[in-house]
């Protein structure tokens, strides 16, 4: 009972940099366990090793788990298996497009060009393979002339 509540609450924690997605939708949440005394262990995997949002996410996860009824919360960071953008659901990809972020292609083809998330123009240009967050690249659409962010396949 508590486990389901904690799991749902933790999965719904928004990513601080990609506010439109939760850590559940991003695939960062690997496991939630709650023992009989209500002590929860939440296992997360980082998107990037140096992701500065991780500390904040850990604090948000602990707070969400406690609010959902967990007594004590331990947040464990696990590197293996390594996170990949392939874990993003179709729904998550659609949400990204909706807010003007081009969703990632397949991780096996990281340099594949994304189309424009605004006008769907296929042939976009890379401005920089690094953006305001570790996971983003900056691109320009020659179709509508708008710059946009691209969540890099990883």
């Amino acid at each position: 009972m508590v486990k389901e509540r904690v799991e749902a609450a933790v999965a719904a924690v928004p990513d601080p940099e990609l506010q439109v997605l939760s850590i559940g939708e991003l695939g960062m949440l690997r496991e939630v366990s709650v023992d009989d005394d209500g002590n929860a262990v939440v296992t997360l995997t980082p998107t990037y090793l140096g992701c500065p949002a991780l500390e904040l996410i850990k604090a948000d996860v602990a707070a969400a788990a406690r609010a959902a009824g967990a007594e004590r919360v331990e947040v464990v960071v696990s590197m293996s298996p390594p996170w990949t953008t392939d874990w993003l659901s179709q729904a998550a990809r659609a949400k990204l497009t909706e807010v003007g972020i081009a969703p990632p292609g397949r991780a096996s083809l990281p340099l594949l060009q994304p189309g424009c998330p605004r006008c769907a123009f296929p042939d976009t240009e890379e401005l920089s393979s690094f953006g305001a967050a570790a996971c983003m690249a900056l691109r320009l659409c020659p179709g509508c002339g708008e710059p946009f962010e691209h969540l890099k396949a990883h």
Binding site: P46, Y48, L49, G50, C51, P52, S78, M79, S80, P81, P82, W83, T84, A107, P110, L111, L127, S128, S129, F130, G131, A132, A134, L138, K152, H154
Partner: protein, 243 residues
């Protein structure tokens, strides 16, 4: 024989010092996109350093965490190669250093991701994906500058010549059994990968001559002390301070 602890310190120190040096470009890069890109490269290196140094501290078992290892060791206790401590020079020198380091780290991490030591393999698998972007970034700039104007070609060529003697140290026989690899075996694939980029950039591979050595046993260049002083001063001035 290098032990696992010593090895983790080396991997962590390479990444930490590369992060510190690369971050010096913040507010100094030739354009905004490069500013952002170099900051991201530095951030990736810092993340890798944190993972390796945290593991090293736990393995040592003397209560030293990543901060203690980064900020409270002195020059001779660092195990990084001299390549990462070299000054940034002009943009071409930074591009050359980034290309040589990234090509090495990408090969190394890809192989370490398959070792039987699970925690090392986990960090490496993550880091390998990050370093692939660094290789792509540095390759792009090497080609753009090398195959650009006569001036950019000359400066890219000079940069490659200047940094080349510091690349041999990356392949010194220095790995514990847990790593499951011989660093010397990475040299061939590295020369091939780097040679391909240099060729596309209309540059030639420099002759091998004098080669830097000593970083893995704590002997560093004259530029390392000032870098450490800069990096460690706040932590040492405000002992025990937290955010």
């Amino acid at each position: 024989m290098t032990g696992l602890l010593e090895y983790l310190l080396g991997l962590g120190d390479d990444a930490l010092v590369a992060a510190q040096r690369t971050a010096e470009w913040c507010a100094r890069a030739p354009q905004l996109e490069e500013e952002v890109a170099l900051a991201n490269l530095a951030l990736d290196q810092l993340g890798q350093a944190r993972a390796f140094l945290t593991y090293a501290g736990e393995l040592e078992g003397e209560g030293r965490d990543e901060d203690a290892l980064a900020f409270l060791r002195d020059e001779h206790e660092f195990r990084n190669v001299q390549l990462v401590e070299l000054p940034n020079g002009d943009f071409a020198v930074t591009v050359a250093k980034t290309l040589f380091l990234a090509a090495y780290q990408n090969l190394l991490y890809t192989r370490l991701a398959r070792t039987a030591e699970p925690r090392l393999a986990g960090i490496a698998a993550k880091a390998a994906k990050e370093s692939a972007f660094h290789v792509s970034y540095a390759s792009l700039w090497t080609v753009r500058l090398g195959d650009g104007t006569p001036l950019s070609h000359r400066r890219m060529r000079d940069a490659v010549e200047e940094v080349w003697p510091y690349t041999h140290e990356l392949f010194e026989p220095w790995a514990p059994p847990e790593a499951g690899l011989d660093p010397a075996a990475l040299h061939g694939p590295w020369l091939e990968a780097v040679g391909r980029v240099l060729g596309e950039a209309t540059l030639t591979r420099p002759q091998d001559g004098w080669a830097a050595t000593g970083g893995r046993s704590g002997r560093h260049t004259e530029w390392f002390g000032p870098l450490l002083a800069d990096m460690q001063s706040v932590h040492r001035a405000h002992v025990g301070a937290r955010w």
